[in-house]
Symmetry: C2
Subunit: 234 residues, 2 copies
């Protein structure tokens, strides 16, 4: 009997924003894996550090710095092999995913390698999307609103097109793309409908007006929510 | 000292999919309010029924059947007045929201009436979006994908436009709009990229091929996820 692979969403950062199901499973699994940078701590692990059990086998899936955005297939191959050995031995494996496993996560690279061979179960997590809306006290969408979730990595043209076709937008993964996004929002006269937040739900969460932000300081975990209530953008 | 208004996401239906924070707060509040139909039980209350405390004051915000989709202002006025009395008396009030408070919820009608007068805090919840992706074992979005969340209530033309501008789509609130959506997906040659699910995370959760569904049986809590991996729709 092989073990089960669990993809477990651990939410946006506040340890209290994991679900009861995630907590039960991540404590029950004898093996816990999580993404991490080449050196230094893992954000996903840090979120749930207080819940881990000292007897658990931990697997840090370390991504070389220069490849963190474009996952190295070899790293996931190696992690899948390591997890396979535990699963074959009947040990359940929890893979920790910041936010939600299927919402811009790296979990899909393990899922694609393992789900067809082992029983697999996914536990959804609180996404940065709703965490940011809650922290900003801003209704994300209501009634017949169309919401677009847009990575800031898109080109200016693509950003313009996307923003033209929705009522509300969440622009994610800002980082070094912030200036481009701020410019496009200004061109579309959307600045006054945009709210900026970084590190939502963490102790150093910051909310500031768009105009006051130094583009050189914007982290990857920053988001802009846009909503023109009562007047569709299209 | 007035009480605090909490908007609490209780997730998609499985009682284990609420967060630790939601559980702590909904138990600690002496007053618990929730939306309900004119007669019959409240879905939001049912999700957390096992966690409620017998001494809590409960307020069912009952929506007349014919107005369930277009909220009656008078109903929310009355509920806000009732909650205000408790908040003025220093009692914290939890408003239960299925899914997430700011993701197509009715909470915004109370938020708009009360948040400027009382301390207010929002606890994000697991949305149907990630719950459905988890149950379908389908990656929602990755890397630079654009995700559009589209209410099925839109016109055929609007649905076509929206689906043309995203990599992945979640089509919500299907109910009696199912046939229209299925037709548009077929026209756009997206049927083979679409997955259907109803009542995600509940005991009677159902996943079926699009072609096999009787449109007369589709509930409001049904969703279609569309993803054409590796080939943008636009």
């Amino acid at each position: 009997m092989s073990g089960t692979l669990y993809g477990i969403g651990v939410g946006p950062g506040d340890p209290e924003l994991i679900t009861l199901k995630a907590l039960r499973l991540l404590r029950a699994c004898p093996v816990v894996a999580y993404p991490a940078l080449e050196t230094g701590p893992s954000f996903a692990r840090a979120i749930v550090a207080e819940y881990l059990v000292s007897t658990q086998i931990e697997i840090a899936i370390r991504m070389p710095m220069e490849e963190a955005r474009f996952p190295a297939q070899a790293v996931y191959d190696r992690a899948a092999t390591e997890l396979s050995a535990h699963l074959d031995a009947g040990r359940d494996c929890a893979v920790l995913c910041q936010g939600d496993p299927f919402f811009y996560g790296s979990f899909m690279y393990l899922f694609d390698r393992l789900a067809s061979s082992y029983p697999t179960s996914i536990v959804p997590g609180i996404t940065s999307l709703t965490a940011c809306a809650a922290a900003l006290q801003a209704t994300l969408v209501s009634r017949s609103d169309v919401l677009s979730v847009i990575p800031a990595t898109l080109s200016e043209d693509a950003l313009r097109t996307q923003l033209a076709h929705c009522d509300a937008a969440a622009i994610m993964k800002l980082g070094r793309h912030f200036s481009k996004v701020r410019t496009v929002l200004a061109e579309l006269d959307l600045t006054q409908h945009a709210k900026y937040i970084e590190r939502a739900t963490l102790p150093d969460q910051t909310i500031r007006p768009l105009a006051e932000i130094d583009p050189d300081t914007v982290p990857y975990f920053a988001m802009i929510l846009v909503h023109r209530r009562g007047s569709a953008l299209a």
